[in-house]
């Protein structure tokens, strides 16, 4: 027994997983397909297996409740009166239900302008930045250029530099040109592209055969034409997944906005709800705070529910490549 396990150890090495991990199998966790167990005593084995499944499902359900409880509690609190927040025992289902909190919240603070600002930042950064990232990934993956790999490694090295290390000089530069308290410092740097996205699109392009590009070149197509007719359609799935991940990251960003934005009407949504939190906690208006927070959570939650398979698969792939 000991010999067999030690003989297994080298085969089960990590390198294979690091490179070869596929995205989650599409049928992962789907019902059906009984486990092809052919042990010595199939009946008892199967029995243990399904009992185990029941136990695991119960434990996972308890965990799932713990994962969702704070979010449900937020929603529940957002529908309460200011007094029933402090009711003991706590009410999970508010009585009475105050939907008016969701009307009140729009006039209680610059929530609408916060959403608008967040949309402006996230859309302009991700749409323009993705295009430039895709073009760069195309060049890094498929075109000949001197010092190509050196440049790529240089860009990758930039990933090691944390934002807090560069934020002070960056702030001073933007202060110098009068961009503080505008959305520009949040938009402009991002529009130049995203190294993580370039990295993954470049990996993805490795699966596209060079021959179709060579053929297009011989036909006299320009490089931009090749990009838009051949490369862009080929990388669309990877681009979409990376786009969503980036959009959510920009949407949820906090440190850069808190540095640059002072005027309430110019702040992004995350700052607006943080200010709601600071301002209305003093007045113990928790329903209002929770309503604002829930509104801030909702767009990303909806995007996640719609695209959950693409998001989850591309994240799983991210880790496998790392």
């Amino acid at each position: 027994m000991s010999s067999s396990t030690s003989a297994l150890a080298p085969t089960g090495g990590p390198a294979a997983t690091a490179l070869g991990a596929p995205p989650l199998a599409p049928d992962a966790g789907l019902p059906g397909a009984p486990a092809p167990e052919r042990g010595r005593a199939p009946m008892s084995r199967k029995g243990r297996y399904s009992l185990g499944n029941v136990l695991v499902t119960i434990v996972l359900s308890i965990g799932a409740v713990a994962m969702l409880a704070p979010l449900i509690w937020t929603f529940s609190t957002s529908l309460k009166t200011r007094d029933s927040v402090f009711a003991l025992p706590p009410q999970w289902i508010p009585d009475p239900v105050i939907w008016e909190n969701y009307l009140r919240v729009w006039t209680a603070g610059p929530l609408a302008s916060g959403i608008q600002n967040s949309l402006i930042v996230a859309c302009s950064v991700t749409i323009i930045g993705s295009l430039f990232s895709a073009l760069a990934a195309f060049a890094f993956a498929k075109l000949r250029m001197p010092f190509k790999n050196v440049l790529f490694l240089g860009l990758l090295a930039g990933l090691m530099i944390p934002f807090p290390t560069i934020m002070i000089p960056q702030f001073m530069v933007f202060a110098e040109i009068g961009w503080v308290d505008t959305l520009l410092p949040l938009i402009v740097p991002g529009m130049f592209g995203n190294i993580v996205m370039i990295f993954f699109l470049r990996q993805y392009l490795a699966t596209v055969p060079d021959s179709i590009i060579e053929a297009a070149k011989l036909d006299g197509a320009s490089y931009l034409q090749i990009f838009f007719t051949l490369i862009f359609p080929a990388i669309k799935p990877a681009l979409a997944a990376q786009f969503i991940l980036w959009f959510m990251a920009v949407w949820n960003d906090y440190l850069a906005p808190i540095i640059y934005l002072n005027t309430p009407e110019k702040q992004t949504l995350q700052l607006v709800i943080a200010n709601f939190n600071a301002a209305y906690a003093i007045q113990t208006d928790y329903p209002l705070i929770m309503a604002a927070s829930f509104i801030a959570l909702l767009p990303v939650l909806i995007v996640f529910v719609i695209f959950q398979r693409q998001i989850i698969e591309s994240v799983a792939l991210t880790g496998a490549k790392g």
């Binding site: 089960g12 997983t17 994962m67 250029m145 130049f192």
Partner: protein, 302 residues
């Protein structure tokens, strides 16, 4: 004639390709130079200066670094930041167990996968707000749940003993889905026949886990540890929202929170820069270690 024209034509084609490629990579490169490399170099310079952000920085040697060495708040912020990383191994163990559970053939795993991932995609600002409310000493969800089993919970965020554990619990809750997902992907890539062979040889479940599963998920563990340390060393948003003053007796102030405070509230840009350089160096060292260990791992396999 034709023999000479071909190479000329070819090199001209190449030059055209070089120019196109350069044009495509130029934009991210310029962005990198302007918004990362230049600020980085300036940060290094500013860390050796006295600078209030209004006038010009004046060189003062390593005074900032000496000040940092003697600054009890800096030491405290460093300690707090690293203390809160206790949550990393705890989170990894829980998420590996979750991934093992979800790797079984049974109903509902896709549903659970999605549910556990919801906190990951949720806005950290909103999450911090709702956890601040959940940790409320009198009316919070946590203490009311504890009261069900007869425990009188502390005033989590107002108590030096519990503010860091509270932040750790929240961080585990927020990050569980991500590490679980990566573990799940790694587990699904483990070839079935390894387990079948081990079972034939009489290896029990624990031995299979110990000698097949754990080695197979080691790269993911490694990746998660390093990215969590890098992320954890930059913890800021939760602190800023849940304990705006750095917590009771400075007990939840993180290093980025302290840098931010010094730079943008007290306008000690030079001193803040030197602290940000130390933070950058720590992250650099962690990344280099990752690369070296990763390389050694792949060598031992190939």
């Amino acid at each position: 004639m034709t023999a000479t024209s071909t190479p000329v034509r070819r090199s001209r084609l190449h030059r055209r390709e070089h120019l196109a490629a350069l044009g495509f990579v130029a934009i991210p490169l310029i962005g990198f130079l302007l918004f990362t490399l230049y600020p980085l170099l300036f940060s290094v310079y500013a860390s050796f200066t006295s600078w209030n952000g209004l006038g010009d920085p004046t060189f003062n040697g390593i005074a900032n670094y000496i000040q940092m060495w003697n600054d009890p708040y800096f030491a405290k912020a460093m300690w707090n930041t690293f203390f809160m990383m206790i949550g990393i191994p705890i989170g990894l163990i829980i998420s590996l167990v979750l991934a093992l559970a979800l790797n079984r053939k049974m109903r509902g795993t896709t549903f659970f996968r999605t549910v556990y991932y919801v906190p990951v995609i949720s806005s950290i600002a909103a999450v911090a707000i709702l956890w601040q409310w959940a940790f409320n000493g009198d009316f919070g969800l946590i203490n009311q749940t504890l009261a069900l089993v007869g425990i009188d919970g502390p005033n989590w965020l107002m108590d030096t003993a519990t503010v860091k554990p509270a932040l750790i619990i929240m961080a585990i809750w927020k990050g569980l889905g991500y590490s679980m997902l990566l573990y799940l992907a790694a587990l699904q890539s483990v070839p079935r026949h390894l387990y079948e062979a081990a079972a034939l040889d009489g290896a029990n479940a624990w031995n299979q886990f110990r000698h097949i599963t754990l080695p197979m998920v080691r790269p993911v563990t490694f990746f998660l540890v390093v990215t969590s340390i890098i992320g954890g060393s930059q913890i800021f948003i939760e602190i800023n929202i849940m304990t705006p003053t750095g917590g009771p007796e400075f007990s939840s102030a993180s290093i980025v929170w302290y840098i931010w405070q010094k730079a943008f509230s007290q306008l000690q840009m030079g001193y803040a820069s030197s602290m940000s350089i130390v933070l950058g160096l720590i992250i650099f060292v962690i990344t280099v270690i990752q690369f070296r260990l990763n390389r050694r791992n792949s060598f031992s396999i190939d």
